[in-house]
Structure formats: structure tokens, C-alpha cells
Symmetry: C2
């Protein structure tokens, strides 16, 4: 039996030891629009293209979370310097470098890919490895 289809990843999740600090970083440095959050346990951002970045406070999702309209969200949690990559346009590569420098965010690395794409790497306040990547890295991007 063949699996029914999947239309991409909707929610990409990072865990934080300081939700307020992480929320400020993704809003102010990454420029993501906050969508929904409770100020304590989670914050959702519009990551563009109908996709969502979710920040959860570490240890805040170890118990099942009831959903008012039905059902329960099972437990999850995470540690470690996780990795996430956001799409940017090639035209925005240099502006992003300038923007990060203006925000005193250290650029840890830059890479060039065989297919022509380029990446900028830096750390968020939880030491997660954040990448901004232009098209030309994967067969489908």
C-alpha cells in the first residue's frame, strides 16, 4: 500500500531555555511575524510560504496537552544545538549579511554549494545553528 501524499513540512520546532529571549531573537533578528503564543510555554511564528516556526520552552511539553476542541497533543521535548535552515533569495544574501552584522550577530560560517546556492550560518540565543540558504542546494530547492 502506497503512502498518501505529503505537502511539505508545516511546523518546524526548536526548544529554548528562555522563551522570551528566543522570541525576541526570531522576531527582531530574523524578522519573523509572531502568530500565536502564551508567553510562557510556546510561541508560533509565520515562517513564510504557509509554514510555521514553533518555539517551545524546554520541559514545558513533557506532559500531554489537551486541545480545547478535541484531543491531546502527546509529549515531546528536545535538547542540543539543533539546526534549521530558512529560505532566502539570492538577492537578499548580502543584505542578510549586513543585517546580521548590524545586529551584532556573528556569522559563524558561509558556504557555497555545487548547485550554486550559498549559505550563511549563525547561532540563536540557545546555540541552535541557524542557516539562511539561497536556491541551488538540493534537487528540489
Amino acid at each position: 500500500m502506497k503512502a498518501p501524499g505529503i505537502q511539505g513540512v508545516v511546523e518546524t520546532i526548536l526548544y529554548t531555555s528562555d522563551l522570551r529571549r528566543a522570541t525576541a531573537f526570531y522576531r527582531e533578528v530574523l524578522g519573523l511575524a509572531p502568530m500565536k503564543g502564551d508567553g510562557e510555554r510556546f510561541q508560533a511564528f509565520d515562517a513564510g510560504a504557509g509554514r510555521v516556526l514553533l518555539l517551545f520552552r524546554q520541559g514545558g511539553t513533557l506532559e500531554p496537552q489537551p486541545v480545547a476542541t478535541g484531543g491531546v497533543i502527546p509529549p515531546h521535548d528536545g535538547q542540543g544545538p539543533l539546526h534549521i535552515a530558512f529560505a532566502i533569495t539570492a538577492a537578499d544574501y548580502d543584505p542578510w549579511c549586513d543585517h546580521l552584522r548590524a545586529r551584532a550577530v556573528a556569522i559563524e560560517s558561509e558556504t557555497r554549494w555545487e548547485r550554486g546556492g550559498r549559505s550563511i550560518y549563525f547561532r540563536d540565543p540557545d546555540n541552535h545553528l541557524v542557516e539562511l540558504v539561497t536556491p541551488g542546494i538540493w534537487p528540489n530547492y
Copy 2:
């Protein structure tokens, strides 16, 4: 200075203690097409909509990884039952439940959201919490 734009998340990453087992699960159960992998340290999948799921062996990305065409990928790693949500259509909700049962994958929970969306939750072999969600959960999805 306003941040330049972001066009969604390109790469969503999970870490695994058994790359071969996790690769089989995402290929056979989730039906994702493998794109690139080295059989030992990482496997990339086409997650649909120009997006990529990356599996990394835990502990396999603790050292900087040189890129042949220029630069270095900085270290990252992760532990814990992480969480990821994939987009499915409303029409595929019941077929997905049937497919998971046929594959002997236990459905841990199902939820209904205020905006009309529905979610199915289950575990991958590393205990990561995998969600399949229909539109109608977030303001942008």
C-alpha cells in the same frame, strides 16, 4: 534596519540513533523520496513543496564538516523526542489513518483544531513525535 525577507523553512532536521532504521521509516511509512545521503551520517528526503527533511546520525555532526565547493558546516546535534508536523490534505486524513494501521504504526492521538484542521500523531523509531495535519490550524495554514 528591517530584516530582509524569509521564504519559509527549507530544511527541518531530526537526529537518529539508527540512520538505516530511520531512513526506512521515512521512506516506507511516510512515503518520502530519498534525495541524497551517505548511508552513514545523513539522509535527505524530498518533503514536498520544495522542502527537505534531513536525518542526521546523533553524534555525527559534532565536528565542522567541510563543503567541497567552499566553506564549512558548523557543528550541531540533538537529543530528545523532537516534534515535526507534515502537511496533508483533508481528503487524505482517513487514508493516512488506514495506511498507518496497515503499517502497524500506532496512532498515539488525534486532535481537532478550532479552525477546522485535524491532526494525527504517532512516533518514529527514535520516538520523535510525528504529526500529519490538514489545513485549518494556523492563520497561515
